[in-house]
Structure formats: structure tokens, C-alpha cells
């Protein structure tokens, strides 16, 4: 048996001979010149943390944390900001950047003339946005620790949690961008993200919402992301974590499936 057929047996077809790493190489080449943009992305959530945590902190006082504890407002809002910035980063990368390449640059057309396949592109782009996510969330967790906002060394698990959020939203965003016709459609994306950002138990606990709306909040994928990160940084481990993780994985896989299928149809008519 040749190695080729062996890999085909071990791996599902889309993953056999994956060359997604080439796309990451390409993006690294691009950002070698624009590294400032890459690095500056780290500061945005930190500014939010300083503003809300320090500025608002004394106005708000203590907040109900997970598991009946009370925590400082900064410690409450910091994990939510980490989750929200993982979402925003992944969606921007997966919508605006991919749309540019898809519709205007025609770069993907040229890439598909080489041995790379649509799957390689889909997985490569999403992996790239996850790698950026690792960079940002690691930086953010370090800042949190420096500010004394983490309750346990296990807070380091917030980093993979942020990656999972990035995966879910990156894949969904990529699927969405294959349906977009023009720039105007991005206003819709923004219009969708803003309520998620504001109403996912991000800035205050779930019990502040009217009881009728709590179930709606719990539908938000970002809510599950926020709760997941919060559980890790505030050291509140319970079974709910499994639910959050499952929800995010489901959304990410569905997005990836749709994106791969749509890309193939769009690029190989």
C-alpha cells in the first residue's frame, strides 16, 4: 500500500494532504509588512478593560459572580471583554478580509489553480484568525493577571476558551461572507454583532435582565463564550462548562461545513 492511500484511509478526505499551512505562510508574509496593525489589535480590549474596570469599577462596586460569590466589577467584566474581542477579531477577519479576497482580489481563483483545494483555503484562513486570537488572548490574560483579576492559575484555560470562541465565530462569519453581495451587507453583520456584544451577560450578570429575556440571552453564542471564560478566570468549575463548549463547537462545525461547500460552489463553477 502506498503512503497516499494509507493517509486516505486514516484521515477523512478533506483533511488528507491538507495544505492549509501554505495559506498561513502567505498571511504571515503580508503581515511582515503590516505588523503594526497586528500588534495594535492587542490594545483595543485592554483599553476597554481599563475604562470599564477602573473607571466604572468604583461606580458599580461589587457584582454577583458565578456560584453565588461576589467579585469586583473589573474581575467580572474582564473575561467578557476577552470573549467579545475573540468574537470581534474572528468575525472581522472572516468577513471583511475574506470578502475582499473573494470578490475583489481574485486571489483565491489563482490559488485554486495550484494543488490547493477550497478546503485548504477555508481551514487555512480560519486557522490564521485563530493564531491571531492566541496572540491577543494570551496578552490579555497576562494583563488580567497583572491587574490581579484572575482567581486561579487555571485561568490559563481562558486562552483555549477564547480560541474556541474565535473558531465558532470565524467559521460562522466565513460561511456568512460567502453569501454577501456587496459592502452594504457588512452593515448587517455589524448590526448582528452589536446586540450580541451588549446583551450576552457581558457587562452585568444575567439576573439583571427581565426574567422573560434571560432565555433569549442564553441563546447567544457569545453568552456561552463569556460564561466559559468567566468560569475559568473566576475559578468556578461545574457541568455548565460542557454545555458551553458543546454549543460553541456545534456552531463552529456548522459554519465550517457551509463555508467549505459554498466556497467550492463559488470558486469551481
Amino acid at each position: 500500500m502506498t503512503t497516499r492511500t494509507l493517509t486516505l484511509r486514516v484521515l477523512p478526505p478533506p483533511l488528507a494532504g491538507l495544505r492549509a499551512q501554505r495559506l498561513i505562510e502567505r498571511n504571515m508574509l503580508v503581515y511582515k509588512r503590516a505588523w503594526m496593525i497586528l500588534v495594535s489589535g492587542f490594545f483595543e480590549p485592554v483599553f476597554y478593560l481599563l475604562s470599564l474596570g477602573i473607571g466604572m469599577g468604583r461606580l458599580v462596586g461589587e457584582v454577583a459572580g458565578p456560584g453565588g460569590t461576589t467579585v469586583s466589577y473589573a474581575a467580572f467584566v474582564a473575561p467578557a471583554l476577552l470573549a467579545a474581542s475573540a468574537m470581534n477579531g474572528a468575525v472581522f477577519e472572516a468577513t471583511i478580509n475574506i470578502f475582499m479576497k473573494l470578490r475583489y482580489g481574485k486571489i483565491y481563483d489563482a490559488i485554486l489553480a495550484t494543488p490547493l483545494r477550497p478546503w485548504d483555503i477555508a481551514i487555512g484562513e480560519i486557522t490564521w484568525s485563530l493564531l491571531r486570537g492566541v496572540l491577543y488572548s494570551t496578552g490579555f490574560v497576562v494583563v488580567m493577571a497583572a491587574m490581579g483579576l484572575v482567581a486561579t492559575p487555571l485561568a490559563i484555560l481562558a486562552i483555549p476558551a477564547a480560541i474556541l470562541i474565535g473558531f465558532a465565530f470565524g467559521a460562522a462569519g466565513m460561511a456568512a461572507s460567502t453569501f454577501m453581495r456587496s459592502w452594504q451587507d457588512f452593515d448587517l453583520v455589524m448590526l448582528f454583532l452589536l446586540p450580541l456584544f451588549l446583551f450576552s451577560a457581558t457587562f452585568y450578570p444575567l439576573d439583571v435582565y427581565p426574567p422573560a429575556l434571560r432565555a433569549l440571552v442564553q441563546l447567544s453564542p457569545l453568552y456561552h463564550g463569556v460564561e466559559l471564560v468567566r468560569a475559568f478566570t473566576l475559578s468556578s468549575f461545574d457541568l455548565g462548562i460542557i454545555g458551553h463548549v458543546t454549543y460553541l463547537i456545534a456552531i463552529g462545525s456548522a459554519g465550517l461545513m457551509v463555508a467549505g461547500r459554498r466556497l467550492r460552489a463559488l470558486l469551481n463553477p
Binding site: R22, R26, L29, G105, L112, A113, T114, N268
Partner: protein, 307 residues
């Protein structure tokens, strides 16, 4: 020798529209093969099927003896592709474009570095190698795209309308580059709607119209088979061309009346011109030339190549 590309009854449909309609052809190693036809004849669709990026609707297609449906990746790894719209990576520089395409083919870095030197030289882009792609001229971009298509030392180079949109000088530079490749033994498939380009570059070509192949042969052979040795082109003042038609038909073997001029097909254009004057016709201008592929296309389809 086994042909590099072989097609029989090859068909491509988009919904109800048939872009390529049961065509057959084969391309031998070392030759430059052309698809000549107007826009919308099905040339680009055929190229995309050969390039293993567009699935075949029906019929048989083999590239390097492989089936694009099953072995697309292996086929693409041996092809070089020069698309019509360049589709260069605008965020990267000239040499980075070459470099990253080499990586897409899994070529080791050191090997790519060596090839970039060769290809920058070949594409005459030495002074612009670190420049971004955006500000390059159309001719430079096209040369870079060709260089990019050669990064994997392809067994077959596909060029879709390589000189469309370029100024005459840039076209000649490009033809010179393609001629060099031919001398180096690189097999090429070219689509074009310029008959002069097809005559200059192709060893053998097919003429396509509305998804079908209407003729096949060498440029010279096609002209000999489908046209006369010489052509007389005459122009008349506005409104006088139409009435002159019947008289002109007495002068030549065959006459085509176009919007602005008449083409008289004859073995001896000079005597046809004298005969025209003898009949009392006074054309504004007259031009004697040899038959070209344009004339072949006109005869076979009743239409000109570039509207």
C-alpha cells in the same frame, strides 16, 4: 508519443446554457496549441476544465493521461496557469508573489529562491522585484503572471488571452517571451481572439464559435483550406457600399460585405482592383493583403472575431 491533453465529446453546461458543446482535440508534447474564437466562444471554459478547476459536465477529458475529476490535485501540480485577469496577490511584492506560489506547489524554499532569480530575469522585472504589484504596468503584471505560472516548471502552460488589454509594444515583448518558452520545449495552450497572435504563436489551432470547434489545423493550412491567397479590401463613401455589392460579386470568387467595407477574396487582388475600376466603381480606398485567420473565421461563421 502520448498526447498531454486529450478530449472527446467534451461538454460544459451552466444550467441551460451550453458553453462548450461536444468538442474533441489533442495536444502533443512540445507544441503550442491555440483556441481562436470571439468572446463567449467557450475558450475560457475549456481552459478551466483542462486546469482541473471546473468540473466536466460530460464527455472525456484526460490531462497527462489523468482524469481531472479524480486526480485534480496531481494535474494542477504539473500545470502552469496564466489567467486572463492576472489575479496577482496585491498585498505582496513581485518576488513574494513568486515565492508564495512556489510554496503552494510545496517546492522547498531554497529551490524557489533560485528559480525566482531566473524568472525575474525572464520576466524582465529586475528593477521592480521588491515593488508591490499594484503600481506595475499592465505588461509587467502579465509578465509576472507568466513567471508565476512557471514557478513549478510545469509540463504544460495554460495562457488565457495572454495579450488582451496590452498596448502593441507590450504585446510584442510578451510574444518574444512566449517564443523563448516554446524554444525551451514548454508545451503551451493559448486562447486568443486576435488572429495575428494565433498566427504568430501557434503551431496548431482550433477555431471555436458558440461552444463548437468549426475548424482545426495549422495557421497556414487553415488559410489555404478555407480562404484565397489574397484579399482586396475596398471602402466606399457612406451609402454606396450596399448598391455596389452585386457589381463587386462579378470581380471576386467570394465577397463579404461588412459594415464599413467589402472584402473581395481572389487569387489576384491587383487584377480584381483593376476590374473594379473598369466596372465604373470608385472606392474611397483600396488595400491589397494576404489572407489571414480572420478571413477563415469570417467564412466559417459569417462573423468577425472582434465586434
Amino acid at each position: 508519443m502520448q498526447p498531454l491533453v486529450e478530449a472527446a465529446d467534451l461538454t460544459k453546461r451552466f444550467g441551460d446554457f451550453t458553453a462548450v458543446d461536444q468538442i474533441g482535440f489533442s495536444v502533443a508534447p512540445g507544441e503550442v496549441f491555440g483556441f481562436l474564437g470571439p468572446n463567449g466562444a467557450g475558450k475560457s471554459s475549456t481552459m478551466r476544465m483542462i486546469g482541473a478547476v471546473s468540473p466536466v459536465t460530460s464527455g472525456r477529458l484526460r490531462v497527462f493521461g489523468l482524469d481531472p475529476a479524480a486526480d485534480g490535485r496531481r494535474i494542477r501540480s504539473r500545470l502552469g496557469v496564466v489567467p486572463q485577469d492576472d489575479s496577482l496577490d496585491l498585498e505582496l511584492s513581485v518576488e513574494e508573489n513568486l515565492y508564495i506560489y512556489g510554496r503552494y506547489y510545496d517546492i522547498p524554499r531554497r529551490q524557489i529562491r533560485a528559480r525566482i532569480e531566473e524568472l525575474i530575469d525572464f520576466a524582465q522585472l529586475g528593477e521592480r522585484r521588491t515593488s508591490r504589484v499594484d503600481p506595475l504596468s499592465g505588461g509587467m503584471k502579465r509578465r509576472l503572471t507568466i513567471a508565476r505560472g512557471l514557478i513549478n516548471r510545469p509540463d504544460l502552460l495554460l495562457l488565457d488571452e495572454p495579450t488582451t488589454g496590452l498596448d502593441p509594444q507590450a504585446r510584442h515583448v510578451l510574444w518574444d517571451r512566449l517564443y523563448r518558452l516554446k524554444q525551451d520545449g514548454v508545451t503551451q495552450i493559448i486562447t486568443t481572439h486576435y488572429m495575428d497572435e494565433a498566427e504568430q504563436l501557434c503551431d496548431r489551432l482550433v477555431i471555436m464559435d458558440r461552444g463548437r470547434i468549426v475548424a482545426e489545423g495549422s495557421p497556414r493550412g487553415l488559410i489555404e483550406a478555407h480562404s484565397t491567397r489574397e484579399v482586396l479590401e475596398v471602402r466606399f463613401p457612406v451609402g454606396e457600399l450596399e448598391p455596389a455589392g452585386p457589381a463587386l460579386r462579378q470581380v471576386a470568387d467570394r465577397v463579404e460585405l461588412l459594415a464599413d467595407r467589402a472584402l473581395l477574396y481572389t487569387s489576384n487582388a491587383d487584377s480584381a482592383l483593376a476590374e473594379t475600376h473598369r466596372l465604373g466603381l470608385r472606392p474611397e480606398s483600396a488595400l491589397v493583403r494576404r489572407s489571414t485567420l480572420e478571413d477563415v473565421f469570417l467564412k466559417l461563421t459569417g462573423r468577425t472575431l472582434v465586434d
